[in-house]
Symmetry: C2
Amino acid sequence: MNFNNRLIDDAVNEISKLPGIGKRSALRVVLYLLRQPQVQTQLLSQSLSDLREKVMYCQVCFNISDHAVCNLCSSTKRDSTVICVVESIEDVMAIENTAQFRGLYHVLGGVISPVLGIVINDLTIAQLISRVSDSNVKELIFAMSTTVEADSTAYYIYKKLLNHNIEISTLARGIPLGDDLEYTDELTLGRSIIARIPFEKSIKVN
Amino acid sequence: MNFNNRLIDDAVNEISKLPGIGKRSALRVVLYLLRQPQVQTQLLSQSLSDLREKVMYCQVCFNISDHAVCNLCSSTKRDSTVICVVESIEDVMAIENTAQFRGLYHVLGGVISPVLGIVINDLTIAQLISRVSDSNVKELIFAMSTTVEADSTAYYIYKKLLNHNIEISTLARGIPLGDDLEYTDELTLGRSIIARIPFEKSIKVN
């Protein structure tokens, strides 16, 4: 499909750069917008530029925020002695949705990756170290992907914090809830046997 | 997933109004844009508002256009004696892509539909009639959906043009090329038997 129309081609090109949207879907979006009242496109365009221009990140935890310090960090209902270290703001959302964590977060902004060219200074590791040093933090929980890069990043932070008197833990790893044993990958299954837990612990809810 | 952030919520809401994009995909788009350089969001936002504000429709055929008269209508290589009547600009694209038609188009902007509240004056039927009256048009081809509403719209135009000395045709209807006979719906198959064509015609390419 080709329109030979600059406005449409431009819009299709920009829209199809978005994840999960190909040229065809982008064209569908464009033709849809042309059929809708102009105000809908104005709102969409405005919300996108506002999003990118006005977005702020919390100075403490680097989560996305409306203010200099985010709602979570400024809340008196959260336990400020526990910090959950995550890679991205999506992870904060995911953990918040479980409603199982009442502490604070620290968003690293990624993991150390020589392949992608992400070095230590690209992440908020220094801020995490000084945050732990300056406040009354008692526990750090690594809630990161189970990749080599994430493991190395966590290990780097762990080494940096060895002389601090805090507990450092990581998310439990094992067979996902609801999974069939026969379909669990060998690596996970193998590790789950080695890292088996007392049965009483597995039936504990909180 | 809920961010409790106005900027993100606004953007997610607006993006998820687009066809084929739900709340989850919209959030994915938003988080993707936040990770990309700001200029990408600027280009996207700009192309969308440009699209809707600056888009023009050809004064002759009502196809989308960069100028007052579109490239097709102003082209000297097209046969201006044949007009293909279509419902929407998507249909122009679809027919252009076949490279089988060298005439001009007329975009109706929909079909008469009492259910959707689309009446004759919402469409460009009057403009089509005067276009046929004023120029040297010899043939009109209806290239419309095979729905009751499209059939009625075509019939209305046909009646209006009865006293004009032009040929009026419609797209061939029958079994789609490459289809298995056993999977063809009964209505199409039945009509194809009634409207059977001389074998020589079916092997003719042009």
